[in-house]
Structure formats: structure tokens, C-alpha cells
């Protein structure tokens, strides 16, 4: 958490947005000025914008396309994008779109980020996703992202999960997977993400756990309104 810019990249559906939002909230506890930048040009759903209320409440700036969350399915980038590289007092978390196509959006920022040399580019991996079930397939996706983004990865985030049904055993079963990716890529495992309720069971077994609050689903009674 000591670099000015933290980028989360990975296969689509690997959990980047959820991690980015939780990470920004954690950063805000250490720094006065924190921003989260949504550079997703691929997916019109599940955007950082969905968490805008929580982010605003926490005093986190949101840099995102005016079309994000509007249902206008445009691959657009926000005009405030240069704030990320120009405003050096700002701590920025960048939520990059999925796969190499999503990472293409970084192209315009990559030279300035590289020149400043104050960034962490983290590869989010999930062994329970169908197209990245083993180290080899995950590394293939990562190298495609590396080529499209113009930035090298500096670390790995193990976000292996089965959504709300994830058990401690599921997370433990992914340790070897993450280690294999470490070995093949030579990148360090920076953290392992788990939902909050698994924290007690895993604390003594895995280093550098990062707890996540998951987003609410529309099919269940809202915790906010109660159910009577």
C-alpha cells in the first residue's frame, strides 16, 4: 500500500472491481486524498460506480466515464483520466477492464505511470473461473494483458472464490495455484482476498489476507429497509 498508484488487472469476472473498491476504502484510512478510477471499457455492468454512495461517504474521489452506470453501452474513458498521472498528491486505485481488451485502455496512461515509477500493477487471479483453472492458463491471460497494457505486473492477488458459497477449504485449495503462478512469473503474491466471515478460519493459515465486503444482491430482502 505504499505506492501512489495501484492497478488491478485480470481476467473478466476475476473480482477486480470488488477488490478495487475495498482496497480504496482501506487506503482512505491511511491517506487524505484517495481516488478510484474506473477504466473499464468492456463491461457496462458491475461497475465501480455502483458503489458511488459508499465511496462518497468515505470521502473517496471517483474517476469514471459519465456513461458508467447509465446503461449507455459506450467504451468511453473519463476526461478526468489525466488527474491520475498529473495530480501527484492523489493516491489512486485503478480498476482496469477485463482481459487484454480492457487493459488496452491503459495504453494512454502507461508511459506517464512508467515514468513516475510509483505504481503497483497487480494481477488478480481466481482458480475457480473456467478459463483460468490452472497456473498455465492464468499466466496466458496475464501475458495478453501485459502486452495490451504496456505496463509490467509487479505482484499477484489471489482472489480464488466461488462467490458467497466460498468456504475456507476453497481458499486453502488455491494456495498452491497462487504459488505456481508466483513460480512461473517470478512475481510475489501480494495478498489473498477472502470475504470477511472467512477471516477467523484462515488468519493463522495464510499470510497477507485482505478481507472483502461483497455487494448486495437484488433478490434478497434489503438489509437497509428491513423486511416487515
Amino acid at each position: 500500500m505504499n505506492k501512489r498508484i495501484t492497478l488491478f488487472c485480470g481476467h473478466y469476472g476475476s473480482g477486480k472491481t470488488n477488490i478495487a473498491v475495498n482496497y480504496a476504502l482501506a487506503l482512505r484510512k491511511q491517506y487524505d486524498r484517495v481516488a478510484i478510477a474506473d477504466l473499464d471499457i468492456v463491461n457496462p455492468y458491475f461497475r465501480t460506480k455502483d458503489s458511488s454512495e459508499d465511496l462518497a461517504k468515505a470521502g473517496i474521489e471517483l474517476i469514471c466515464s459519465p456513461y458508467a452506470g447509465s446503461n449507455v453501452d459506450f467504451p468511453a474513458l473519463p476526461q478526468e483520466i489525466y488527474q491520475i498521472t498529473d495530480d501527484k498528491d492523489l493516491r489512486v486505485v485503478i480498476d482496469v477492464g477485463g482481459d487484454d481488451r480492457g487493459a488496452l485502455a491503459l495504453g494512454r496512461l502507461a508511459p506517464a505511470i512508467w515514468e513516475e515509477r510509483d505504481f503497483e500493477m497487480l494481477a488478480v487471479v481466481n482458480r475457480f473461473r473456467p478459463l483460468t483453472p490452472d497456473a498455465a492458463s492464468a499466466v496466458e491471460v496475464l501475458s495478453e494483458i501485459r502486452a495490451a497494457s504496456g505496463l509490467p505486473f509487479t505482484g499477484i492477488v489471489n482472489n480464488s472464490n466461488l462467490g458467497e458459497e466460498t468456504t475456507a477449504e476453497d481458499v486453502l485449495s488455491s494456495v498452491r495455484y497462487a504459488e505456481e503462478i508466483e513460480n512461473v512469473t517470478g512475481l510475489p503474491l501480494v495478498m489473498t482476498c477472502v470475504k470477511y466471515d472467512l477471516l477467523p478460519a484462515l488468519e493463522s493459515k495464510i499470510d497477507n489476507l485482505f478481507p472483502l465486503v461483497l455487494q448486495e444482491k437484488p433478490t434478497t430482502f434489503s438489509a437497509k429497509t428491513g423486511n416487515s
Binding site: 469476472g13 433478490t219 434489503s222
Partner: protein
């Protein structure tokens, strides 16, 4: 049992199709089903299959016609406006008695509409997919697991009855991620003696055609087809019943609406109201008997839909209007909340909303 994977509904459909032996996918991208095409684009080249992004939806459905003529399993997918474009092709498939799997991950309409989930293509799927007398088998998944299972089932039914199977999903089903087991049994594919595979000078040539200029013959084709449809109606209707046995208020809902409704039923039961849920899994054939049976003890039905009220007509027909059927709905891409459904249950039960 194989380990579960975390999949989007759209990905589950694509993977299950491959599992079912489908090696030909033709489509044109449209939100919210694009991941089906994206997944096929990644996977098909690796397994010797064909992924082809057609120049339009119309082209794609006609490519489906072509491959199906050769007896191979084939599919296309789209979302509401794209399915309208496929309409002509669906009618031609029916006219030529060709099996195919078509997926509609619905979004709000009419017209170009929006990109949020909807169930407003119910009429189109169950009544008017195209011109002429024909039916499609319509399957309505309510979980990512079912997206996979019904895709396999869809291929099997399509082959068995030489019909189009349509997966009628919606944006939430396509986009939501859930753990899935892909340990799904696939029946061996049936022989297709009608397929155009080359005569090798050993048999008379087969012909795949929907043109029929002699009205007596065309009438016969239609009658034969409807005999087959009658078998489908008799054998293939599927529904999930949830706490229906003693229910006084019965909800009818499919897909995402059923998931919302199940939570509302649970809450109603906690509050002492005898509520239940019938979730049609096949929308055509509609599970009429399940509804007719429930109408013997229920005092009211509620049709919960992401539309202005389309399935409600089938609920009224199946219950023969013995008891009142009310509508609890959102439209245009909105989803009814469990609170809204609970209020409708209370109202139907005679209490205050």
C-alpha cells in the same frame, strides 16, 4: 463429483453447449449476452469447433439452418432486439423441421429498449416467434446451474422432436456469477437419417426445405408437426413447486422473478401466510396441470413478472379462471423487490398490503 467453477450465466450456457457436443456457434454481439460469443470465440478454435461472428443476426440464424441441415448440433444466441431479427429464420427452421438451440438473454423493450433485465419476450417466445403455425420448446432457467443444465436439455429435446429449443433467460441470469457443477450427463446423440450428409450413391438424396406449394401437402406437414407438438405437451412440461401443497396464495414466476418470489414466500410463511410458488421451467409447453391442481386449493394466484404481464394469460388459462389472478410486476429493466412481492401476497391473502 467434479469441482465447481465460478461462472457467469452466459459462460455456463456456452460451456454446457460444448459439453452437449455443439461445435458450431454463429452470432452477433449484443448486450447482455455477449459473453456467450466471447467464450465461444476463445474456446471453439481450441477444440476444433467453429465460432463465427456473422454480419448480422439474420445471417447467423441462417448459418444455424445450414449446419443443422447436416445433422450437427448448432446454436446461436442474442438478446431481445436480435431475436426479433432472427424471427424469419426461426420460422424457416420450424418449416424444415430442423433442430437448433437459440438463446435469448432478454433486455427491456420494445424497440431498442435498454440493457437491463426483462422478461417481456414471453409472448414472442411462446406465441409468435415468427410466421406460420409452429412452436418452440421454451426453457426458463433460474440459476447459473440451470443455465448449464437446460442448455444440454435443450439440445436433447431439439434433436428428439426436431424443433428449436429456446433458452429464455434474462440479463440477470446472463450476468450473475454462481458456482456451477459441470458434471452433467449428456445422452448419446440420436441418429439423424434425414440429414444432408452426402448419399454416397447408397440412398435417395435427402432434402431440407420449407417450401411447399401443394396446399394438401402443406396441411399434412402442419398436422404431422402438431402431432409431435402434442407429444411434447404431454411429456415435457416441467415446473418446480415450492410449498404449494397447502398454499392459499400461489405465486407463478420464472427465472429471476422466481428467485425474488421464493424469498417473499419464505417471509410470508414466517408471518403465518400460507404462500407457495410454482416456477415453470418450460414456458412452452406450459405446466398447465400443476396450475390446475393448485387452483383446487388456492384462493388466489399472483403472476410475478418483469414485464407488463404476459405469462399471466397462461396462468389464467391453466387455472381456468377459477380463482383471481393478479399481477405483481416491474418493467423496462426493473426487478420486483421481495418487499413488493410480499406486499402482493398479503393483499391477495386479504390483509393490508
Amino acid at each position: 463429483m467434479a469441482e465447481k467453477v465460478l461462472m457467469k450465466g452466459n459462460e455456463a450456457i456456452a460451456e454446457a453447449a460444448i459439453l452437449a457436443g455443439c461445435r458450431h456457434y454463429f452470432g452477433y454481439p449484443i448486450t447482455p449476452q455477449t459473453e456467450i460469443a466471447a467464450y465461444m470465440a476463445k474456446k471453439m478454435p481450441k477444440i476444433g469447433g467453429t465460432f463465427l461472428q456473422a454480419e448480422s443476426e439474420i445471417a447467423a440464424i441462417n448459418m444455424v439452418y445450414g449446419v443443422s441441415s447436416t445433422g450437427k448440433r448448432v446454436m446461436t444466441s442474442s438478446s431481445s432486439p436480435g431475436i426479433s431479427l432472427k424471427s424469419e429464420g426461426l420460422s424457416y427452421l420450424a418449416g424444415a423441421d430442423l433442430p437448433a438451440l437459440v438463446v435469448n438473454v432478454q433486455r427491456g423493450g420494445p424497440g431498442l429498449g435498454g440493457i437491463q433485465p426483462s422478461q417481456s419476450d414471453y409472448f414472442q417466445a411462446t406465441r409468435g416467434a415468427g410466421h406460420g403455425d409452429f412452436r418452440m420448446i421454451v426453457l426458463a432457467p433460474a440459476s447459473v446451474q440451470e443455465m448449464a443444465e437446460l442448455t444440454v436439455k435443450g439440445f436433447e429435446l431439439a434433436d428428439e422432436y426436431r424443433m428449436t429449443s429456446l433458452i429464455l433467460a434474462d440479463g440477470t441470469m446472463g450476468q450473475m456469477m454462481e458456482p456451477v457443477s459441470l458434471d452433467i450427463t449428456v445422452k448419446p446423440q440420436p441418429e439423424k437419417p434425414w440429414a444432408v450428409t452426402g448419399t454416397k450413391c447408397a440412398r435417395f438424396h435427402n432434402s431440407i426445405n420449407s417450401l411447399s406449394l401443394v396446399p394438401e401437402e402443406l396441411e399434412k406437414f402442419n398436422s404431422d408437426r402438431y402431432e409431435r407438438y402434442a407429444k411434447v405437451e404431454a411429456n415435457e412440461a416441467m415446473a418446480e413447486e415450492y410449498m404449494v401443497d397447502d398454499a392459499e396464495v400461489v405465486i407463478a414466476a420464472f427465472g429471476i422473478a422466481a428467485r425474488v418470489s421464493k424469498n417473499a414466500v419464505n417471509e410470508a410463511r414466517k408471518q403465518g401466510i400460507k404462500a407457495g410458488l410454482i416456477r415453470p421451467i418450460t414456458l412452452w409447453p406450459f405446466p398447465k396441470e400443476v396450475f390446475a391442481d393448485a387452483a383446487k386449493h388456492a384462493k388466489a394466484f399472483i403472476s410475478v413478472e418483469l414485464s407488463m404481464g404476459q405469462m399471466i394469460e397462461d396462468v389464467r388459462l391453466s387455472t381456468r379462471c377459477r380463482v383471481p389472478v393478479t399481477l405483481c410486476n416491474r418493467a423496462g429493466g426493473m426487478i420486483p423487490s421481495p418487499e413488493q412481492v410480499l406486499a402482493a401476497i398479503k393483499q391477495a391473502n386479504g390483509g393490508e398490503a
